[in-house]
C-alpha cells in the first residue's frame, strides 16, 4: 500500500508493563491476557491517516528485560517516535522511567518524539502512580503524556496517532530533513516532497543545522 510517509516507532519500558499488548491492540484490535515474554525485538505495522495523508507506522516492540537492554539499544537509531510505557499499578516501573529516558536520549536522534504512557489504567483500584505524577514527569522531561489501557483499548489509538501527528507537525515545520532516513521517516511514493522548499524559512534552517 502506498503511503505519504513512513514513521518508525519504538516501544520501550520495563518488562510486563504491556508494550506488546499495546502494539497488538493497535495493530490487530485485540487483547491477549496471557502474552509470552518478548524475546528480542518484534515489529508490527498499521496505516493511519493524518491531515488526509496516509501514513504507515512501523512499530518496533522491544523486550523490557534488563538482559535484553543492549539489543534494544541498537534499535533506537532510526526511530522517529518512542512510546515510553510504565504500569500505573507498579511503582517501580515508574521509577525506572528516568533510566529508559537516558537510554533514549543517548542512542536515539535528538528530535525523536517521545510519548509517555501510563498503561493498565483500567486497573484503577490497584493504582500505585497517580495521573498527576505522570503528568508532572512528562512535563519535566518534555514528553507527551497519556494514560491508556491495552485491555479496554482506551487511548491506545490516540497515543499512537497523537505521536504521529506530532511528528507530522515537526515535518511541516521543517525540523527534519526527510530525505535522511536516520530520522526514522521515509517519504513514500504517494508522498509529497518535504518542505525543503521552505515557506517557513527560519524554522527550516534551524532544523537543518542540528544533527
Amino acid at each position: 500500500m502506498s503511503y505519504a510517509y513512513l514513521f518508525k516507532y519504538i516501544i520501550i519500558g520495563d518488562t510486563g508493563v504491556g508494550k506488546s499488548c499495546l502494539l497488538l491492540q493497535f495493530t490487530d484490535k485485540r487483547f491477549q491476557p496471557v502474552h509470552d515474554l518478548t524475546i528480542g525485538v518484534e515489529f508490527g505495522a498499521r496505516m493511519i491517516t493524518i491531515d488526509n495523508k496516509p501514513i504507515k507506522l512501523q512499530i518496533w516492540d522491544t523486550a523490557g528485560q534488563e538482559s535484553f537492554r543492549s539489543i534494544t539499544r541498537s534499535y533506537y537509531r532510526g526511530a522517529a517516535g518512542a512510546l515510553l510505557v510504565y504500569d500505573i499499578t507498579r511503582r517501580e516501573t515508574f521509577n525506572h522511567l528516568a533510566s529508559w529516558l537516558e537510554d533514549a536520549r543517548q542512542h536515539a536522534n535528538a528530535n525523536m518524539t517521545i510519548m509517555l504512557i501510563g498503561n493498565k489504567c483500567d486497573l484503577a483500584h490497584r493504582r500505585a502512580v497517580s495521573t498527576e505524577e505522570g503528568e508532572q514527569f512528562a512535563k519535566e522531561h518534555g514528553l507527551i503524556f497519556m494514560e491508556a489501557s491495552a485491555k479496554t483499548a482506551q487511548n491506545v489509538e490516540e497515543a499512537f496517532i497523537k505521536t504521529a501527528a506530532t511528528i507530522y507537525k515537526k515535518i511541516q515545520d521543517g525540523v527534519f530533513d526527510v530525505s535522511n532516513e536516520s530520522y526514522g521517516i521515509k517519504v513514500g511514493y504517494g508522498g509529497i516532497p518535504g518542505p525543503s522548499g521552505g515557506r517557513d524559512g527560519p524554522s527550516a534552517s534551524a532544523g537543518g543545522c542540528c544533527s
Partner: protein, 753 residues
C-alpha cells in the same frame, strides 16, 4: 533465562544408526563440504573425492573431480548439475591451484573398468590477473534462466568474485563486488555468508562479514551497494528464510534483514555454530558458553515455541533432504530429524491444554495444504474446515466470546478454494448456517454474493439464492446491510442481475434507478406497477417518477397508447401532475402517439378546470360585493349620525330605561345588564375577538418560515399555499400598517346622563 515452551514436534528418523558409511576408504578422510538435492546427499572430501548417498545414507557412487581437496560444492536443483571448487595440480607456480568445475550428473562417462564419473562440462580458473588470489570463505550458486548460472565466491578480504553465464559454452562475464571495508582487522572483513534474493526482475545479493551486512543490487549497472548494518557474524551462521529474509546468528540474538535494513530479532543466547531455515522453522545449533555442550533447537517463531530441542555432538554441516533435516557430525555420524505428523502434534498440545497454539498450528497447515486437499477430497476438507472454524466439539469451559475470537476466520481460508468455487460455496453456506454472528460476516456475504451472482457457476437456482441473501442480510430495521452494498450493486450490474439490482435500488431509495432499470428492460407493465408502488408521496414515495415515466413514453418512439392511457388514469385519479402542459410536452415528442390517446384526458381536465375557474369567479364576485358593503358601512359610520331607536335591551329584552348604553353595532343595553363590562357589545364581542385572534395567528405564522415551506412541500399543489399566504397579506407586509380594517363594534357609548 526465560525460554519458550518446548515440544517434541520432531523426531529422529532411520534410527540412531545413521552415518556416512565407513568403508576403508572413508575412515581416514575428512569431510570438507556437503550439499544435497534431487534425492541425494553429496559430500566432498579432503582427498578430492565426492561421494553420493541415497535415502538413508546408502552409498550410491563416488568420483574424483579434483586431485587434492574439494573445498566447496553445491548440488543444483533445476538441472542435475554439480558445481565444485577444489585444488588441482598446479600447472605453473604463478597460477593458482584452485579450479571451479561443473559436472552434468545425467551424463555419466565410463572411466576405466569399475568406476564411473559424470561428464565435466566446464572448468574455470577462479583467480586470474584481474582477480587476484585470496582465501575463499563462502560460495553460492544461483540458477538463473537455464543455462545461465550466477556463481558468487566470497573472499577473506571482503571481495566477492562473481561469475555469470553459460559455463559449458564458456560464455561468461566476471565482476567483483566489494563490501564496505571500514575494518583494518582482516578477520572482520571476510565474507562469511552470502544470500541471493530474487523478486521478479530484481536480483539482490546479501553479503555478511563478521562486522557488517551489505546488500548488492545486481540489476543496477554497476551493482549498487547498501550497507544494512554494522554488525555481522562468523562462518556457518547465515541463512535465508522462505520469505527471502537474510538471517544471521550472533551470540546475543538471531537477526533478520529485509532489503531495507534490519528487521526483528530473537534473543536466543549462545554462540551460533550453525543456522538454518526449514519449512518455516528456524534451526540453530547453539554452543553453551559454560558447559560447551551443543544444543540443536528448532524454533517456531510464529507460535513462539521450541518445536524440538536436543543435545548433539559437534555438528559440521546441516542439510535438508528426504523431507528431513540432516545434521552431519564431525565424526561423520549423521542425524536425520523429521517433523511428526499433525495429529500427534495436536495431540501433544491438547494434552497440555494449549488450544490456541493448536488452532494456530492446524490453521497454518490447512492454509498450506488446503489447495491440494480441496482438489482431491473436497467434502472431507470442507468438514475439517468447518470444524476448525466453528469447533462445535468440546469447549472445555471456555466462555463462548473468548472462544470465538480464538477461532480462525473462514476468510483466512478463501485462498485455498481459488479454483473450486462450488466447494467454496458449500463451505461458506455451511459455515453461515452454523455461525450466525461471525465477526467476518460481511466478508463472507460478499464472497457468497460473488459466487451466486457471477455467471461462473451456471445453475438456475443460483440467482434465487443470491436474491434471498441480498434480502435476508438486510434486516428491515437496519440502515446498512451485512454486505458491501456498492460491491453488490457492481456485481448485479456486471452480471445483468435485474432482480437483485431492483431490490437494492429500492432499498436504498434510489427510485429513479429502479425505474431506469425497468425502462432499460422495456418492461412496461413492471414499470407502471413500480411507479404505482413508489410514486405515492403519502407513503414516502417520489411523485416525480410519474413525470419521468411520461417523459420516457414520450421519447419511446413506438406505439404505447395503451400504457399512456393507463398512466394518465392514475395521474388523473391522484392528481399527481397538475400542470397539463407537462403531460402534453412529455408526450408530444413521440410521433406514434396520436391525439386520441389523450383526448379524453384533456377534455375532462379542461372541463374540470373551466368549472373551477367559474367557481373562483363567482367567489370573487361575492367577496367584492361583501367588501363594497363593508366600505359603505364604514363611510356611513364616519359621516352620518346614528340614531339609536331600539326600545328594548338586547340582553334582557325588557324595555330600555335609563341609564342605558348604545353600541355602534346597533345594540342597546341596560347599564345594569352590562355589568362591569361596558366597553364592548357582549353580542358582537365573541365574533370580533375571534377575527382579531385569527389575524394575530396569521401574522405569527408568517414569521415561521419552516412551517410555510413544510406546507408548500406537503401540499399537492404548492401554488395554492403560496397564493393563500399572499391572499392573507402575510407574505407582503403592505397591510401591516396602522390602518387596520373596519372597527366594527368598537365602543361608542352614550350614557343617559
Amino acid at each position: 533465562m526465560y525460554q519458550w515452551r518446548k515440544f517434541e514436534f520432531f523426531e529422529e528418523k532411520y534410527g540412531a544408526k545413521c552415518a556416512i558409511p565407513e568403508d576403508d576408504d572413508v575412515v581416514e578422510k575428512k569431510i570438507q563440504c556437503c550439499s544435497s538435492g534431487r534425492g541425494k546427499v553429496v559430500t566432498g572430501f579432503d582427498d578430492g573425492v565426492v561421494c553420493f548417498f541415497d535415502r538413508g545414507f546408502k552409498f550410491n557412487y563416488a568420483f574424483q573431480p579434483h586431485s587434492s581437496s574439494v573445498l566447496f560444492l553445491q548440488q543444483l536443483k533445476q538441472r542435475n548439475l554439480l558445481v565444485t571448487i577444489g585444488e588441482d595440480e598446479q600447472l605453473t607456480p604463478q597460477q593458482s591451484a584452485l579450479c571451479l568445475k561443473v559436472f552434468d550428473l545425467d551424463k555419466m562417462q565410463p572411466e576405466g573398468s569399475s568406476t564411473t564419473s559424470p561428464d565435466c562440462v566446464g572448468i574455470l580458473r577462479i583467480f586470474t590477473n584481474q582477480f587476484p588470489e585470496a582465501k575463499i570463505t563462502s560460495f553460492l550458486v544461483l540458477e538463473e534462466v537455464p543455462p545461465i548460472l550466477l556463481i558468487a565466491i566470497g573472499l577473506d578480504n571482503g571481495s566477492i568474485y562473481c561469475i555469470k553465464g553459460d559455463i559449458a559454452r564458456e560464455r561468461i562475464t566476471r565482476f567483483k563486488l566489494q563490501v564496505e571495508n571500514s575494518h583494518l582487522d582482516k578477520t572482520l572483513s571476510a565474507v562469511t555468508g552470502l544470500g541471493f534474493r530474487v523478486d521478479g526482475q530484481s536480483l539482490q545479493l546479501f553479503a555478511v562479514t563478521p562486522g557488517s551486512v551489505s546488500l548488492f543490487s545486481l540489476h543496477d549497472q554497476p551493482p549498487r551497494r547498501q550497507t544494512l548494518d554494522q554488525i555481522g557474524c562468523g562462518l556457518n551462521s547465515v541463512a535465508m528464510s522462505d520469505r527471502s529474509e537474510l538471517i544471521i546468528g550472533r551470540p546475543e540474538a538471531v537477526y533478520f534483514y529485509e532489503v531495507d535494513g534490519r528487521g526483528p530479532c530473537w534473543a536466543f543466547e549462545g554462540e551460533k555454530k550453525l543456522l538454518g531455515w526449514f519449512r518455516g522453522y528456524l534451526l540453530c545449533v547453539i554452543a553453551d558458553q559454560r558447559t560447551g555442550k551443543h544444543t540443536f533447537n528448532i524454533y517456531d517463531l510464529k507460535n513462539r515455541l521450541i518445536a524440538h530441542s536436543a543435545l548433539v555432538k559437534e555438528v559440521s554441516h546441516m542439510l535438508y533432504e528426504w523431507g528431513n533435516i540432516i545434521l552431519v557430525m564431525n565424526d561423520k555420524s549423521a542425524l536425520c530429524i523429521g517433523e511428526k505428523d499433525m495429529e500427534s502434534k495436536l495431540d501433544m498440545l491438547f494434552r497440555k491444554n494449549l488450544y490456541t497454539v493448536a488452532i494456530n498450528l492446524a490453521g497454518m497447515t490447512i492454509k498450506e495444504y488446503g489447495k491440494i486437499l480441496i482438489e482431491h477430497k473436497p467434502v472431507e476438507t470442507i468438514q475439517i474446515l468447518i470444524r476448525l472454524c466453528t469447533e462445535d466439539g468440546d469447549k472445555k469451559g471456555l466462555s463462548n466470546g473468548v472462544y470465538m475470537s480464538m477461532l480462525p476466520s473462514p476468510v483466512d481460508f478463501l485462498s485455498i478454494f481459488i479454483h473450486h468455487p462450488q466447494s467454496l460455496m458449500d463451505f461458506l453456506e455451511k459455515y453461515t448456517n452454523k455461525v450466525k454472528d461471525s465477526p467476518a460476516q460481511v466478508e463472507i456475504h460478499n464472497t457468497l454474493l460473488e459466487l451466486y451472482i457471477s455467471n461462473e457457476l451456471n445453475f438456475p437456482s443460483m440467482r434465487e439464492k443470491g436474491l434471498h441473501l441480498l434480502k435476508s442480510a438486510w434486516p428491515p430495521e437496519t440502515e446498512h446491510p451485512l454486505y458491501d452494498v456498492d460491491l453488490a450493486i457492481i456485481l448485479c450490474e456486471m452480471n445483468a442481475f435485474k432482480d437483485g439490482l431492483l431490490y437494492l435500488y429500492e432499498k436504498m431509495k434510489l427510485y429513479k434507478e429502479v425505474i431506469a432499470c425497468y425502462m432499460q428492460a422495456h418492461d412496461h407493465e413492471g414499470l407502471i406497477a413500480c411507479c404505482k408502488r413508489l410514486g405515492d408521496s403519502v407513503k414516502g414515495g417520489d411523485p416525480s417518477l410519474w413525470a419521468d415515466l411520461l417523459k420516457y413514453f414520450g421519447e419511446l418512439g413506438e406505439d404505447c397508447s395503451k400504457e399512456v392511457k393507463e398512466v394518465l388514469t392514475y395521474i388523473e385519479r391522484d392528481d399527481i401532475l397538475p400542470p397539463i402542459i407537462i403531460v402534453l410536452q412529455s408526450l408530444s415528442r413521440n410521433p406514434c402517439l396520436t391525439l386520441s390517446v389523450i383526448k379524453d384526458y384533456i377534455a375532462r381536465k379542461l372541463e374540470r378546470e373551466s368549472k373551477m375557474i367559474e367557481e373562483d369567479r363567482q367567489a370573487i364576485e361575492k367577496y367584492q360585493e361583501d367588501t363594497l358593503a363593508m366600505r359603505k358601512e364604514i363611510q356611513d359610520l364616519r359621516t352620518n349620525a346614528r340614531i339609536f331607536q331600539l326600545s328594548k335591551c338586547t340582553a334582557c329584552t325588557f324595555t330600555l330605561d335609563l341609564p342605558a348604553v348604545h353600541f355602534m353595532c346597533m345594540h342597546s343595553f341596560h347599564l345594569r345588564c352590562l355589568g362591569d363590562n361596558e366597553k364592548e357589545c357582549p353580542e358582537c364581542a365573541p365574533e370580533y375577538r375571534s377575527v382579531l385572534e385569527m389575524k394575530r395567528n396569521l401574522e405569527k405564522n408568517s414569521k415561521d418560515q419552516d412551517r410555510f415551506f413544510q406546507q408548500v412541500k406537503s401540499s399537492k399543489d404548492g401554488f395554492s399555499v403560496i397564493a393563500e399566504y399572499f391572499g392573507k397579506g402575510i407574505i407582503s407586509k403592505i397591510s401591516n400598517g396602522s390602518a387596520s380594517g373596519p372597527r366594527s363594534g368598537t365602543v361608542s357609548s352614550t350614557s343617559g346622563f
